[in-house]
């Protein structure tokens, strides 16, 4: 019931994500959507945004939750093919093992669009993939810090994602690219917070102890907002003001980071949009109605949010999406 | 008529495990076309001998000859290949594979390296037909009864080996009809000239099927003879080691000395374990329980202590009915039980001697009435002294003590709860001679102190020495109760063997 209420609430603000609504080119089309599951708030938001996008465009969306299993996804896709849908959206749980089922879709002349993750399969087996550019996310965060700090010296501590994970590697790389050549900006410490709030807090506590009670730290860069929220608590516990004494910049744009911005405790976040479906439907519309073959890789916008961007409004909007 | 040829022979076999001589100069010979029963109580050395004959163990001394040639098998597979097959009580085949596969596993007829299922099935049907077995050979083995599985196991052993067949307690889990069917098969194999070793605890089965028998006791060969020449009483006597010619002192524990009835078991039993038993236990008496292994004597003790739950009858103690559904209730009623398998069910190996001594009292007192250290030391000291428990100190783990001292600790554990009724299952097994005598003395002393005791033992001398009364178990039933002058090894042996004697006469 709660979910339904959230959907109703979100529907009123959906214009934010709808982008440019095309002519009713997809009205009445049937699209299957195989979602990974609901392992995180972002994933839940992606699901609800996709449903809203479909509703906006009059698409009949067939939704299948794979519960983190590729075999369920393959089953769902086969089911969609059997039903003769007009198109299929897949958020693939793993990168490999897709060739056969994608070939089946291709043979049935059903275009497949990948959402937010890629696959190791021949590119002609799917229409396009919609994903964010993780390196760019890191770069946007880094550029914000460079512009904000100016010429002052700034010691940065970094809270990495899970060691070896793709987003951790890419977001680190992007950030380093942005601050490269700026001698006044240095990453003093970098540790993994496993993308979780409690590890983010624990690691930040350690950093504060190691850097003169936190007085030497100018900014914290967290690979996701959850770790930043944990770090903010650690900064407060140490008697410092997050957002003022220590700048906080992170990635994802989940509701709680906007709540922190409202309180003046976070400075910037880069959005990993849950709206992968919007660009996907746009491309599908252009393909089905105009025959335009889209680019193979559609990159979503990595939008920067600061306290100037109505954080309270963002919080309310996003809270309704199931984050 | 000439003697049939000897197929398998063991000469002067000795097997030593550490300090223990499990087999001491044992010889046996098996002839073609005979069923040879191998008899003895637990620990007599039967399974050690079998394991040496089938290659699972190597003899320390002595030799094994197959058809006159000395052989030395590195493992059972070699023995199997040489013609000696074994079927154990627990069928060790693969229950989730087909009957046919089980029959030929590892020896499937193949063509160009491929298993030919059709050929296997046809062959399996043909083989099993010779055993009078008509089953779907493609079905899983596990879907058939133990009896069928047993026959498949025998067929497999005979197919693979074909000279000697060892049957280790094959009838233990079979019903009467299944036993008869098995015996038909054994007779048939015997007619085909196989030498068959048959191990069982059921004397009537020995007499029903066997030609000769060999008796072992404490690792020594007691004798081999033709079954035509002996009576069941003789066999029991050989197994239990009683020289009945010597006159025994009548039990020192005269029945008249015992006190009033303390405990009454009335129709107490559990189907499949022990037929209903009615028995009174008086204060100050020892009730000896005699019977062969598997006669139901241990099962009776477990029932009386609530380890297994009785399904019939009732128990009254001092006139009031009590419930015995668990050992906890038995302990609350003042019962104690020294189990037969000391290591598995008796001692807490890693705990100290002191803790082992106080544990039952502590369990009786409950979780929150802890005995403090001083109380523990006092109790442990008292019973260690009373029972002469020899340990370097009472904080050492009990597993480091000798068997006799461990047994005394368990006895002391129960004395610490100030019991009314003690059950001792084979209290002197595996204990050296000195400790043995002490335990017997302790039993007598406890009786004089007014306890009721139930003592199970295979040692007839012992039972005679301390029992006020003796009950005899056979085939999971209480078959006799002996009093006064009747308490002698001779009469006990006759009671144990009675049924077979009647059958033989």
């Amino acid at each position: 019931m709660k979910v339904l209420k959230q959907l109703a609430l979100a529907a009123s603000t959906v214009a934010l994500f709808a982008g440019v609504a095309q002519a009713d080119g997809l009205q009445g089309k049937v699209v299957g959507f195989s979602q990974i599951g609901s392992e995180s708030g972002w994933r839940a938001a992606e699901t609800s945004v996709t449903k809203l996008q479909a509703e906006e465009r009059g698409i009949d969306l067939k939704f299948a939750d794979a519960q983190q299993k590729q075999e369920n996804q393959i089953k769902a896709i086969r089911g969609f093919i059997a039903q003769g849908v007009d198109a299929i959206l897949v958020a693939p749980v793993v990168a490999t093992g897709w060739d056969a089922v994608l070939q089946e879709a291709k043979d049935a002349n059903i275009p497949v669009i990948l959402l937010d993750r890629g696959v190791d399969a021949s590119e002609d087996l799917y229409l396009t993939s919609v994903a964010s550019d993780q390196v760019k996310e890191g770069r946007v965060a880094g550029e914000w810090l460079v512009n904000t700090v100016g010429d002052k010296d700034c010691k940065i501590v970094e809270l990495q994602g899970t060691v070896g994970s793709t987003p951790a590697i890419n977001r680190k790389q992007g950030f380093e690219e942005a601050i490269a050549g700026k001698a006044n900006l240095t990453i003093a410490r970098s540790q993994t917070g496993d993308f979780t709030r409690s590890k983010g807090k624990e690691v930040m506590e350690g950093f504060i102890k190691a850097e003169n009670g936190g007085k030497d730290i100018c900014a914290v860069y967290a690979h996701n907002d959850d770790m930043a929220v944990g770090a903010i608590q650690a900064i407060k516990d140490a008697g410092l003001k997050p957002g003022t004494d220590i700048l906080v910049v992170s990635i994802d744009a989940v509701p709680d980071i906007f709540a922190a911005m409202v309180a003046g405790e976070a400075n910037a976040t880069v959005e990993l949009t849950p709206n992968m479906a919007g660009p996907a439907f746009d491309a599908l519309d252009a393909y089905l109605n105009g025959g335009t073959v889209p680019e193979k890789f559609i990159i979503t916008e990595s939008k920067l949010y600061t306290p100037a961007d109505n954080p309270q409004g963002e919080y309310d909007t996003r809270k309704g999406l199931g984050y | 008529m000439t003697e049939p040829a000897t197929v398998l022979q063991a000469r002067g076999v000795v097997k030593v495990f550490g300090q223990h001589r499990a087999l001491d100069d044992v010889s046996i010979d098996l002839r073609a076309g005979e069923v040879h029963a191998l008899l003895g109580e637990n620990g007599a050395g039967k399974s050690t001998l079998i394991k040496i004959l089938t290659g699972a163990y190597q003899a320390t001394e002595g030799e094994v000859l197959l058809e006159g040639q000395p052989v030395r098998f590195a493992d059972p597979l070699q023995a199997q290949a040489a013609g000696i097959g074994t079927v154990y009580q627990e069928v060790n085949l693969l229950p989730n594979r087909s009957v046919a596969e089980n029959l030929f596993l590892g020896h499937q007829p193949t063509r160009f390296g491929f298993v030919q299922k059709k050929v296997i099935y046809a062959k399996a049907r043909a083989v099993l037909a010779t055993y009078g077995l008509d089953v779907d050979v493609r079905a899983e083995l596990g879907s058939y009864s133990v009896a069928v599985q047993q026959i498949v196991a025998i067929a497999r052993a005979v197919e693979l080996s074909g000279k000697v067949l060892v049957l280790d307690e094959p009838t233990a889990s079979l019903d009467r009809n299944e036993v008869d069917r098995l015996f038909d098969i054994i007779r048939q194999l015997k007619a085909r000239g196989l030498a068959i070793i048959f191990i069982t605890h059921f004397l009537d089965q020995v007499f029903a099927i066997s030609d000769r028998m060999t008796v072992l006791r404490n690792g020594k060969l007691i004798g081999t003879s033709s079954l035509k020449d002996v009576s069941p009483t003789d066999v029991v006597r050989m197994m239990l080691g009683k020289d009945l010619e010597i006159l025994h002192p009548v039990s020192t524990a005269a029945e008249g000395a015992s006190g009033p009835v303390m405990l009454s078991f009335d129709g107490f039993g559990k189907p499949g374990k022990v037929a209903p038993v009615t028995l009174d236990i008086h204060r100050g008496e020892v009730v000896g329980v005699a019977g062969l292994l598997g006669s139901g004597r241990t099962e009776l003790a477990r029932l009386m202590f609530g380890v297994d739950t009785a399904e019939s009858g009732k128990v009254t103690m001092n006139g009031k009915e009590i419930s015995l559904r668990s050992p906890v209730q038995a302990v609350q009623a003042g019962f104690g039980f020294c189990p037969e398998d000391r290591k598995a069910d008796g001692i807490f190996g890693d705990l100290s001697v002191r803790e082992n001594l106080i544990i039952a009292l502590q369990a009786k007192l409950g979780w929150f009435k802890a005995l403090n250290r001083d109380e523990q030391l006092e109790i442990a000291g008292r019973y260690a002294e009373a029972l002469d428990i020899r340990a370097a100190n009472h904080d050492m783990p009990i597993k480091l003590l000798s068997g006799g001292n461990q047994q005394k600790v368990i006895l002391g554990r129960w004395l610490a709860i100030d019991p009314n009724f003690l059950i001792l299952d084979e209290p002197t097994r595996g204990i050296d001679v000195g400790a043995h005598a002490e335990i017997v003395r302790t039993i007598n002393r406890l009786r004089e102190d007014g306890l009721g005791l139930l003592v199970i033992s295979s040692e007839l001398d012992e039972i005679v020495a301390y029992s006020s009364r003796v009950v005899v178990m056979r085939d999971r039933q209480m078959v006799a109760e002996l009093h006064g002058q009747d308490i002698s090894p001779k009469i006990i042996v006759q009671a144990i063997a009675a049924q077979h004697q009647e059958a033989a006469e």
């Binding site: 709660k2 609901s38 995180s40 708030g41 994933r43 839940a44 060691v163 410490r189 970098s190 540790q191 496993d194 979780t196 709030r197 409690s198 590890k199 624990e202 506590e205 350690g206 950093f207 102890k209 190691a210 009670g213 959850d226 929220v229 944990g230 608590q233 516990d237 008697g239 709680d256 709540a259 199931g322 984050y323 | 202590f305 380890v307 668990s326 050992p327 906890v328 302990v331 609350q332 039980f337 598995a344 069910d345 008796g346 001692i347 807490f348 190996g349 890693d350 705990l351 100290s352 803790e355 544990i359 039952a360 502590q362 369990a363 979780w367 009435k369 802890a370 904080d395 050492m396 554990r413």
Partner: protein
């Protein structure tokens, strides 16, 4: 008595802790600095205790379970369930004490479930507790509907981040629980009876010990400890993270117990030593954080130290290095 205290002080565990702290101090000279800030103690050493508290609390319950020759893999998931329950309830407007009570009940219920499977149905503990380890996190996700439930209830937050006499609440809770549990098992007969069941369950039954009731009790207690740890972790981040709360902490708890010297084969146990084991693990984690090593080294360093500790307390090294003190310990127990 004196030799007992002395032999405790030079156990492999205390030596290991001293060594880890020493290395931390060498890598980061400010490691032992403690200051008074906003009415509470503040410093790396306090962090070690504070961050180690959830695992220490888990280890207290786990010690009892392992002493019975069991293991409880579900504690991490139970933490998530308890945190999710408490957070969701306070967010729905229930008073904090009700939410805490229900979360504790949830932990007890999970423990009871495990206990029934192990004691009454005789399922191997590793399999029995695997059920909640896998399903429990799903239950927690159902409660939170997949998102992090952020809350602002002061009581719940106090459990995770408050302080008492200058010490962080988690430390106070863990220490209190450790002392109470130790008193409970050593001042009553529970400790001995639990050890008896662990050493030989069959003999325990024959000796008149209610082995099944004891088994039920230790799993229930373990679930209770996990629920407390779960609320601390949730209170600490002011939110219930069903996906990550307590993730893999069951392994840290088992490790703490093993470092504390309780054998996985059951029997002799020491709750205080297990707590010490948890502190050793956390001292390592915090040491890595303040040392500035790149994160790729975390697991390598950790496993290296653990192997060293386990080798030190193995029977072999005990006979090699500690022959004399070992003999004394044996005699004075």
């Amino acid at each position: 008595m004196k030799t007992r205290v002395l032999s405790r002080l030079i156990s492999p565990q205390t030596m290991a802790l001293a060594a880890v702290l020493l290395v931390n101090w060498i890598l980061f000279p400010g490691f032992f600095d403690i200051e008074w800030k906003d009415g509470r103690l503040f410093g790396s050493l306090i962090d070690v205790l504070n961050r180690g508290a959830p695992v220490a609390i888990l280890a207290i319950g786990m010690t009892a379970v392992i002493a019975t020759k069991g293991v409880d893999l579900s504690v991490g998931a139970v933490m998530a369930i308890a945190g999710a329950t408490a957070a969701t309830m306070v967010e729905a407007g229930w008073p904090a004490h009700t939410a805490v009570a229900v979360a504790l009940l949830a932990g007890l219920a999970c423990g009871l479930w495990n206990g029934v499977l192990v004691a009454l149905l005789d399922i191997q503990p590793i399999i029995a507790t695997l059920v909640i380890m896998v399903a429990g996190r799903g239950i927690a996700q159902l409660i939170t509907e997949g998102s992090i439930v952020t809350f602002s209830d002061p009581t719940l937050i106090f459990i995770g981040t408050g302080s008492f006499l200058g010490l962080p609440m988690p430390v106070v809770i863990a220490a209190t629980l450790a002392v109470l549990a130790t008193l409970l098992v050593r001042r009553t007969a529970l400790g001995l009876l639990v050890e008896a069941v662990g050493v030989n369950r069959s003999a325990a039954r024959y000796a008149g010990i209610s082995a099944n009731v004891l088994l039920l009790a230790v799993y229930v207690f373990c679930g209770f400890c996990a629920a407390i740890a779960g609320m601390i972790v949730a209170g600490d981040i002011r939110g219930a993270d069903a996906n990550n709360a307590g993730l893999w902490l069951e392994l840290d708890a088992i490790l703490a117990v093993v470092i504390g010297g309780t054998s996985l084969l059951g029997g002799r146990f020491s709750i205080l030593m297990s707590v010490l084991g948890a502190v050793i693990i956390q001292a390592m984690n915090t040491g890595i954080l303040v040392s500035g090593f790149p994160p790729e080294f975390n697991l390598v360093v950790k496993s290296g130290v653990i192997i060293l500790i386990l080798v030190l307390q193995s029977p072999l090294s005990a006979t090699l290095f500690l022959r004399a003190p070992k003999a004394k310990t044996g005699a004075s127990k």
